[in-house]
């Protein structure tokens, strides 16, 4: 039986500290604008020349801006998680406080038929793919009503 340990599929883009998953963005120390992924060397605001940023967790709840699914297996470097490919949904979620729309896969078992533009979505951390040593973790979006049902 294999024993796999979880690791983040990408470092520094999200946190699971304290069991509370959140995306990690940046807030500019000059103009206070947000960015995801976190800005590290120059502010995107053309009227701001700051080069200093603070890492901040982003809102974990937002509204669904749009959504789709991947009916065909994406090409590499996507790593297949099933054979044959099972379609998965992808969501674009608007975070009001940060004024950002952030993409993410939708948790398994939720199809496009379960989604509607404007609904509330919550952030979770889930497995993107697994290999012999690790479960590679990533953030995903899930409908808020599902999260509530489960709690």
């Amino acid at each position: 039986m294999s024993t796999t340990t979880p690791i983040h599929a990408i470092e520094g883009w999200f946190t699971t500290d304290g069991g509370q998953p959140a995306l990690l963005g940046s807030r500019c120390d000059g103009c206070a604008t947000y960015a995801f992924p976190a800005e590290s060397f120059a502010c995107r605001n053309p009227s701001c020349d700051s080069r200093s940023f603070t890492s901040v967790p982003l809102s974990t709840t937002g509204t669904l801006w749009s959504y789709t699914d991947a009916c065909y297996q994406p090409p590499p470097p996507y790593i297949p998680v099933s054979d044959p490919h099972e379609p998965f949904a992808i969501a674009a979620v608007h975070l009001a406080a940060e004024g950002l729309v952030v993409l993410g896969q939708v948790t398994a078992g939720v199809s496009v038929d379960d989604l509607v533009v404007g609904q509330t979505m919550n952030l979770v951390v889930d497995t993107l793919f697994s290999d012999d040593e690790h479960d590679h973790l990533i953030w995903k979006w899930t409908p808020a009503d599902l999260t509530e049902d489960a709690s």
């Binding site: 599929a9 206070a32 604008t33 789709t68």
Partner: protein, 397 residues
């Protein structure tokens, strides 16, 4: 706009789109020679070559201006090569135009050509975990159609578009493409056939997403003074727009994971896709009400509806009515994609924006055969590609 900011399109030429499997340079040379013949000029008349790069064909693709010059025969002309994703061809046209307007040359040749792999566009090879175009495949499984589908679903939610509306775009463009000898797909389809094709990225079906093709297009641009010595009726480039987005870009852009933030700086009055053609209209002093036709980038069927609004053919939310009323068919009030569009061609990235200019030129000359828009006098092209690239070229007779 004053004549002193215009250049003439003296010649246009294309290599037919397809899946030919030959070296992209061959296609480019074919298109270049066709454009030179169309202009009544020879390679020795060309003072400057602007090549639109292809990133999937090795080093020769990154230095397209020199590659095509060598293939046509070194003769000491000046060159430039540029890459701007789907807008590469228009950027190359803009570079050539500037050379002519600055007085550095009279005759410039612009060439774009591509040989493409099968299937979804994947990022170029190698592990590059700091490249968003690599990461979006690894972390999201997000292909290009993912983004097209997000726009399409958003449109359904905001303007009441239906899958049938999207399918009608394919039906229209496939019908137009029947009359285009350079088109790859020359087959009429019905709404039912489109909707019965496999779902790729909901709500978009296989027949609604543009394929990737081999192909080439070229234009010969000259000063208006030079053109007057050769013809009395040259089509002219009245404006070229290559603007970037304005911060914050609040519509998710391929290949990004998130939009810019609108928390501190509000969204611009004119979103990026609206700004692309607007900059061309401003430059030329010509408005959408003056247009005879438009060639827009139908990467997906749904995206063509967005373009109707982005280039000012109607107000936001009215594109479906334009389509349903037949306004954008050949014979309608403002035909869109009389060439057959990407739906009939598939995309040959560095050639596509040049091909749009070829089509508008043929239309303005009255040489478009069975797809001719009657009495065409003004035409606009528009496209958008990865990483905040877009272009629009305004052509007048």
């Amino acid at each position: 706009m004053s004549d002193d900011k215009q250049v003439a399109v003296l010649g246009v030429g294309m290599h037919p789109w397809g899946k030919w499997g030959r070296n992209f340079v061959e296609y480019g040379v074919d298109a270049a020679q066709a454009a030179l013949a169309d202009a009544g000029l020879t390679w020795n008349d060309v003072g400057f070559v602007a090549g639109a790069d292809t990133i999937r064909n090795g080093y020769p693709g990154f230095i397209a201006g020199a590659t095509f010059s060598q293939a046509l025969g070194w003769k000491g002309n000046r060159v430039a090569s540029c890459y701007a994703a789907c807008a590469s061809g228009a950027h190359a046209i803009n570079i050539a135009r500037a050379q002519i307007l600055a007085g550095f040359c009279d005759v410039a040749l612009v060439v774009g050509a591509d040989t493409t792999p099968k299937g979804f566009f994947a990022p170029v090879g190698g592990d590059r975990p700091d490249d968003p175009d690599w990461l979006r495949f690894r972390l999201l499984g997000a292909t290009n159609p993912t983004y097209f589908a997000l726009y399409a679903r958003r449109r359904m939610a905001t303007s009441g578009a239906t899958m049938e509306d999207f399918a009608r775009i394919k039906v229209k463009n496939a019908k137009n493409g029947l009359a285009n000898p350079n088109a790859r797909f020359r087959k009429a389809v019905t709404v039912d056939e489109v909707l019965a094709s496999p779902m790729v990225a909901n709500p978009l079906h296989l027949l609604e997403i543009c394929a990737t093709s081999d192909g080439a297009a070229a234009v010969v641009l000259t000063s208006t003074e030079f053109a007057r010595r050769h013809t009395t009726e040259a089509v002219k480039v009245a404006a070229v727009s290559t603007v970037t987005p304005t911060y914050p870009e609040t519509v998710i852009e391929m290949p990004n994971f998130a939009t810019d933030s609108s928390a501190v700086v509000g969204a611009p009055d004119r979103p990026f896709r609206d700004a692309i053609a607007h900059a061309a209209y401003e430059e030329a002093g010509i408005g959408p009400e003056d247009l005879s036709l438009a060639e827009v980038y139908d990467l997906s069927t749904a995206l063509e509806l967005d373009w109707y609004e982005n280039i000012g053919l109607c107000k936001p939310g009215e594109a479906e009515r334009l389509l349903r009323d037949g306004d954008t068919e050949i014979g309608g009030r403002i035909p869109v994609n009389p060439s057959g569009g990407l739906a009939s061609f598939g995309e040959a990235i560095p050639a596509q924006a040049i091909a749009q200019v070829c089509e508008v030129t043929w239309q303005l000359r009255g040489q478009a055969g069975d797809r001719q828009v009657a009495g065409a006098k003004v035409g606009v092209t528009a496209n958008q590609g990865l990483f905040g690239h877009g272009s629009s070229v305004l052509l007048v007779r």
